[in-house]
C-alpha cells in the first residue's frame, strides 16, 4: 500500500511539475505569497474550516483557481485562500510599504470584508464589487490625497515629448464615419 501511495504521490508531483512548467510562460505566476493575512481553509467557502492563519509574506504554490479562490500548497499543508489575499511571489520586494486596508476616514475595514456567513464569496478586501459600492461612505481625505498626485498640462506635454509622442491632427467624427 505504501509503495502505491508514494507512486501516486510521485505521479501527482510529476503532473504538478508539468503543469507549473506549462504555466511558467504565462503572465500569471504560480509561485505566490500572502499579501493580506488570511486563513487557509479546507474548502473554497468563507465559512469553511480554517486550517491555519497565513501571515503576510507566506510563500505558497498555486495548485488550482476557482471563482476567486486559489488552492495552494503551503509547506505540507494544502487548502484554499482568497485570490485577492495573494500576490505573485517577489512582487512586493520593491513596492512601498502596504497601505492600510482600512479607510482612513471611516476606518471601516470590516465593512468591506466578506461576510463569514455566506459560502459564496464575491467580496475580497481589495475588490470593488457592487456590494462594496453599496456600502461606500464619503472619504474626503482621499480626495485631498488625489490632489497631491496632480500634474499640470505643461508637465503632461513634457512627459509626452520624452515619450516621443506628437499630437496628430485627426478630425472629429462625422456622420460618414461608421
Amino acid at each position: 500500500m505504501r509503495s502505491r501511495a508514494s507512486a501516486g504521490t510521485a505521479a501527482l508531483r510529476g503532473l504538478l511539475a508539468a503543469a507549473l512548467i506549462a504555466l511558467a510562460g504565462s503572465a500569471y505566476a504560480q509561485s505566490l505569497e500572502v499579501s493580506t493575512s488570511t486563513p487557509l481553509r479546507a474548502s473554497p467557502a468563507l465559512n469553511a474550516k480554517s486550517l491555519a492563519t497565513l501571515p503576510v509574506g507566506t510563500h505558497a504554490e498555486q495548485l488550482e483557481a476557482r471563482g476567486g479562490w486559489v488552492r495552494v500548497k503551503v509547506g505540507t499543508d494544502e487548502g484554499w485562500v482568497r485570490g485577492t489575499h495573494m500576490r505573485a511571489a517577489g512582487a512586493a520586494k520593491k513596492a512601498a510599504p502596504a497601505a492600510s486596508t482600512a479607510n482612513p476616514v471611516t476606518g471601516l475595514t470590516g465593512l468591506f470584508s466578506a461576510s463569514s456567513t455566506r459560502p459564496t464569496a464575491t467580496t475580497g478586501t481589495r475588490g470593488l464589487t457592487p456590494e462594496q459600492l453599496a456600502n461606500a461612505q464619503p472619504a474626503p481625505a482621499e480626495v485631498h490625497q488625489l490632489e497631491r498626485y496632480a500634474v499640470t498640462a505643461a508637465q503632461a506635454r513634457q512627459f509626452a515629448h520624452s515619450g516621443k509622442l506628437t499630437a496628430q491632427q485627426i478630425p472629429a467624427y462625422t456622420g460618414a464615419d461608421q
Binding site: 482621499e142 490625497q145 496632480a150 516621443k164 496628430q168 472629429a172
Partner: protein, 315 residues
Amino acid sequence: MKTMHSKPWAAALAAVAMAGLLAGCETMPNVGGAGGIGSALSGVMGGGGGKSNAGLANGIQDVIGGVSTAFKDYSAEEQRTLGSEFSSVLLGARPLLRNDAVQRYVNQVGWWVALQAEMPKDKDGKEIQFAWRFGVIDSDAVNAYATPGGYVFITVGLLRKLNNEAELAGVLGHEIAHVVRGHYLAALKKGGFTQIAGGIIQARSNNAAVSAAVVNAVRNIYAKGLDQSDEFDADRQGLLYAARAGYRANGLPTVLHMYEANGSSSDANYQLLLSTHPAPAERASKLEPLLASKFASAVDVTNEARYVAMRKQLR
C-alpha cells in the same frame, strides 16, 4: 438623522431627494434592457422623459455631434463640486494606491490624452477648462470610471492587465469622453437626481441630509452604469483621443479583447465592469471598421518599456 429635523429646509430637501431616488429606481432598469438602443438613445435627447418621438437617426446624430443638454445645467465650478463629492464616495469604497510614481505616471498620460479632446461649453457658453485629476484605486477589481468635472479613476487590477501606454491611453480616453461629453450629468438627470445635484451645489455638502442623498445617488449611478449608447460613444471618442495623442490606435480595442478573453461575470473582479457595460466583443466590433479606415495611417508609438517599468511597482 437628528440633524435632518433641525432645519426645515433640510428635511424638505431630503424629501425631494428621496422622491428622486424612487424615480430613479423606476427608470434606471430600462437602461440597456429590453428597450434596446432606441430607448437608450432617448436618454441622450435630454433627460429621457420616455415621450421623445425623435427617431434612431436623430439620436445617433446627437451622439455624433456630442450634443449634451446636461452641460447647459451646470457651470464648470458646479461640475467640479459634483465631481469632488462623487469621488469622495467612490474612494470610500476603495482608497487610492499609495505610490507617487504610479499616480503621477497615470496623471501625465491622462492629461496628455485629455488635451486632445474637444472641450464642452458650460451654461454661459464658456469653454470648460477641466483641472484633470487621475487616480489609481488600490483594488484588484478590473475597472475604470469617471465623474463630472474631470476626475478619472482606474484600478490597480486593470493597470496590471494592460501591456503598454497606448492601451492605458485608450482606457483613459474612454473615461475622458464620459466627462467631456456629459455622460454622467445625463445619468444624473435621467436617474432623477437633478435636485440632489442642486443640493450639493447649494449646501456644499455640509448638511447631513444632503450628504446622505448624494451618497445614495452615487451608489445608484455607478452600480447601474451609464446609457449603453454613451458607452459606445465613449469607445469611439477614446479611440480618437488616444490616436490624436500619438499612440497606436488599437490600444482600446486590444483592452476590449482582453476583457472578452479574461472577463467572467462569475469573477468578482470583473463583475461591476461587465454588468455596467455592453459586451466587450460588441464594443470591439464597433471599433474595428474605424481602425481599418479613419485610423489606418495612424502612428505606432506604445511606450511599452516605460509602461512595464511602472507596472513592476504594482504589487
